[in-house]
């Protein structure tokens, strides 16, 4: 029984082109980050002015930047940074947002009203603005940018969870569960959460991409990861002044960001098709 189930799940994965392409792109990034933990082709930190602006070669696959650091190594190490920021920020949003959304749907009434109006309120500020505000108060840095992005994710998850949970609360099997004497807490974890899990997973994948983008944006503005830690966003910033001298300096980190965001979005799209076959049939 469980064999046929997992088999059909795998075959559905294989049939979804966006899932496969997105999965490969995401896996590539993960592998890069993992390898960079032990080994990079050059050094992402060593500044050797004599080696600056070297063209791509066997020693420096993508050349060097204006401080003579190896670009390929900086990109690989920067992947770690992007992934850590995105994982932590999405986890913050996921845990807080999903709990708040479930609470709002289970309690209704004033609790729901307060949680949702607070979400609306925080939605009214553009994410990047509130991130700038936070870093302005607490100072720039990796941790603060993670917090800022994580906070922005909370209302996104809270809204999504509340909406889908309310739809499940209205279903007959919830009424049947109540008739068999289950309290709201039990129903939330046994009936509501399992039924909205796939929606939350898909949303998390997409927000993962947005978090990477947001981290790059904050670092680009100098509010995120601080030197000497390599970061895609800051590499873009540094390449900006060299646009006409050495345009490839901007192209590489740009490509890295694009790959990550595109890959994760494809993955999320593919997951949605796989986890919810009803949606894909409608298209």
């Amino acid at each position: 029984m469980s064999d046929t189930r997992s088999l059909s799940f795998l075959s559905r994965c294989r049939r979804s082109r966006s899932f496969m392409v997105g999965g490969i792109m995401t896996a590539f990034l993960l592998v890069c980050a993992a390898i960079s933990l032990f080994w990079t082709p050059g050094s992402a930190y060593d500044i050797t002015i004599a080696n600056r602006f070297l063209p791509p070669s066997a020693d420096h696959w993508l050349g060097t930047d204006r401080f003579g650091r190896d670009i390929a190594s900086m990109l690989m190490t920067g992947t770690q940074n992007s992934i850590v920021v995105a994982v932590v920020a999405v986890s913050i949003g996921l845990s807080m947002g999903v709990s708040l959304g479930l609470l709002a749907a289970a309690r209704r009434g004033w609790t729901e009203e307060i949680i949702m109006r607070l979400s609306d309120f925080s939605f009214a500020f553009p994410a990047i603005l509130s991130a700038i505000m936070l870093t302005a108060i607490f100072g720039p840095g990796g941790v603060n940018s993670i917090l800022a992005i994580g906070l922005y994710n909370i209302p996104v998850f809270a809204r999504l969870t509340r909406g889908s949970a309310n739809a499940i609360w209205a279903r007959e099997f919830v009424m049947a569960a109540r008739a068999s004497g289950k309290g709201r807490l039990r129903i939330t974890f046994e009936h509501i959460l399992p039924n909205i899990l796939s929606i939350i997973i898909v949303q998390a994948t997409i927000l993962f991409a947005i978090a990477i983008l947001a981290e790059a944006a904050l670092s680009y503005l100098g509010l995120g990861t601080q030197p000497p830690e390599p970061s895609w966003g800051r590499m873009l910033n540094e390449a900006q002044t060299l646009m006409f001298l050495d345009p490839m300096q901007a192209v590489y980190p740009g490509l890295a960001i694009a790959t990550a965001v595109f890959g994760l979005n494809l993955l999320g799209d593919g997951l949605r098709d796989i986890l919810d076959p009803r949606l894909s049939r409608k298209r």
């Binding site: 008739a179 068999s180 004497g181 289950k182």
Partner: protein, 331 residues
């Protein structure tokens, strides 16, 4: 002293257009081992009355009166206390077996849950009991079925699972809200018979809600006919089928398709529609559709009067209603 005693139960639902009086002054009692049938057309308050008994009405509603289960008023209970009563002493089978089971859990898990929750059985003991229950409700090969998901079972089997869940903790009262409406005609009888047998074996009381007089007549000891949220006629099943008194009961009966009736004859209908529960008429709610209504019906609500022991009818024109033949009333 009866097991379940409902006194003047009223349910008022808050709607956008104002309060809707879904159930008005409903009273009945039920002894151990007895079966009560509640009949009426859609929107007459049958299901609302059932949900009120379970304490599962929507949040924006008000319940008045008394629901005494073993002399304890359920309306005074807190939500936590009601959680211990629901599924344990009062259980319910719903109309729609297709959607009443959670699609992401196996049926076995769903049968085991109330056992673990109310009776405190261990995982393995609950599984044993679940297998036994599945066997009792007539699911073939329970060992193979227990790990199935709801979508792998047929509608009839799912309703059997729902019954197994409802009966798992041997409740005192089982409420079956149109348990066979969504099922195939061939399955309907089996399911009703099953409920009947299980209820008798365990000595439970059963409230069977249906709009189908045929279902009610075969499976109940007492009948309560509801119209517009209130009881219009109640009595023993035999008493009522011997003499249908209230014009509405007569209309319901006349509207049933009958075998052997000429094919060219149209089905009898009761003209008009159910009253608007928000703007109920001052008098008898059936006035607008009643063939024998007069001015007094329009202005004064009729009291529920006993015409013989245990058989009560709410109608101003008892004499005329009793003298009429059912067939001529609505043709």
């Amino acid at each position: 002293m009866s097991l379940l005693n409902v006194k003047n139960l009223s349910v008022i639902l808050a709607t956008n257009d104002g309060p809707a009086r879904a159930v008005r002054d409903l009273s009945f009692s039920l002894n151990k081992g007895e079966t009560l049938g509640i009949v009426g057309e859609s929107g007459c308050g049958k299901s609302m009355a059932a949900l009120a008994l379970m304490g599962l009405l929507p949040e924006l509603s008000e319940t008045r009166g008394e629901i005494l289960l073993d002399e304890e008023n359920l309306l005074d209970k807190t939500e936590a206390e009601m959680c211990r009563i629901r599924g344990n002493r009062l259980a319910m089978v719903f109309q729609e077996p297709m959607t009443s089971l959670n699609p992401v859990h196996t049926v076995g898990n769903q049968i085991m849950e109330p056992l673990q929750l109310h009776l405190g059985l261990s995982e393995s003991a609950a599984r044993e009991e679940a297998l036994h229950l599945m066997d009792r409700v007539g699911i073939p090969n329970p060992e193979a079925r227990i790990d199935n998901y709801p979508h792998q079972l047929s509608g009839g089997q799912r309703q059997r699972v729902m019954i197994a869940i409802a009966l798992s903790c041997k409740p005192d009262v089982l409420i079956a809200d149109e348990p066979t409406t969504a099922l195939d005609v061939t399955i309907q009888d089996q399911i009703l018979e099953l409920i009947q047998n299980l209820v008798q074996e365990d000595g439970m009381a059963l409230i069977l809600i249906s709009h189908d007089l045929g279902v009610i007549s075969e499976n109940t000891d007492n009948i309560l006919v509801m119209y517009g949220g209130a009881a219009v006629e109640k009595g023993g099943t035999e008493q009522i089928f011997n003499e249908l008194v209230h014009p509405y009961t007569q209309g319901l009966f006349a509207a049933m398709p009958k075998l052997g009736r000429a094919r060219t004859m149209r089905l009898v209908t009761i003209p008009g529609t159910v009253p608007d529960l928000i703007n109920l008429p001052a008098g008898c709610t059936f006035t607008d559709r009643c063939p024998i209504a007069t001015d007094i019906c329009r202005n004064t609500p009729p009291p529920l009067e006993e015409i013989e022991p245990r058989h009560a009818v709410a109608c101003h024109h008892l004499q005329e209603a009793r003298s009429r033949k059912t067939e001529e009333l609505f043709s």
